[in-house]
């Protein structure tokens, strides 16, 4: 489930406009080795975990990997 918060998780100050850097950063989020893909992997892997610890941890880090979407 998705609940939007009208704030960033971490303070960001953009001092100058840099489209090349922006492209690089957006790839970190949505690219093939990005956080979005990692999130979905963790959230799928949690279904086959045998222990409580593993289920909870994959659930929580899978959630956490989705955070960068709020930087947009």
């Amino acid at each position: 489930m998705w609940v939007y918060e009208k704030k960033l998780q971490y303070p960001v100050k953009i001092k100058n406009c840099n489209p090349r850097l922006a492209k690089y950063i957006i790839t970190q989020y949505g690219g093939p080795d990005g956080e979005l893909a990692a999130s979905l992997r963790y959230l799928s892997q949690r279904y086959s975990m045998p222990t409580e610890v593993a289920k909870a941890t994959l659930n929580d880090i899978g959630t956490e990997e989705l955070v960068p979407i709020c930087y947009q």
């Binding site: 939007y4 998780q9 610890v53």
Partner: protein, 81 residues
């Protein structure tokens, strides 16, 4: 005014960062009572601070919009600050 808002927001961000890290730590150390106490304190502090922030600067989530007219649509959004 803007500086005061940012300062308060930064404190909330710091508390929430602690909460996330303690959450992950407690997943693998569920019997660490000291960590649990720190977690509870952090949550309590964060709730208080968030309530104050929302009273002063407007809702942080759509469902905490409790004034009229609907305040959720007011700027700034995080990418505009």
């Amino acid at each position: 005014m803007k500086d005061a808002r940012e300062k308060m927001l930064k404190e909330i961000q710091a508390l929430e960062f602690m909460e996330i890290e303690l959450n992950l730590y407690l997943n693998t150390h569920p019997y660490d009572q000291q960590a649990f106490m720190i977690f509870r304190n952090t949550v309590q502090q964060r709730k208080m601070l968030r309530d104050n922030y929302e009273r002063m600067y407007g809702p942080l989530t759509a469902c905490s919009s409790n004034s009229f007219p609907w305040p959720w649509i007011e700027s700034p959004w995080p990418w505009e600050a």
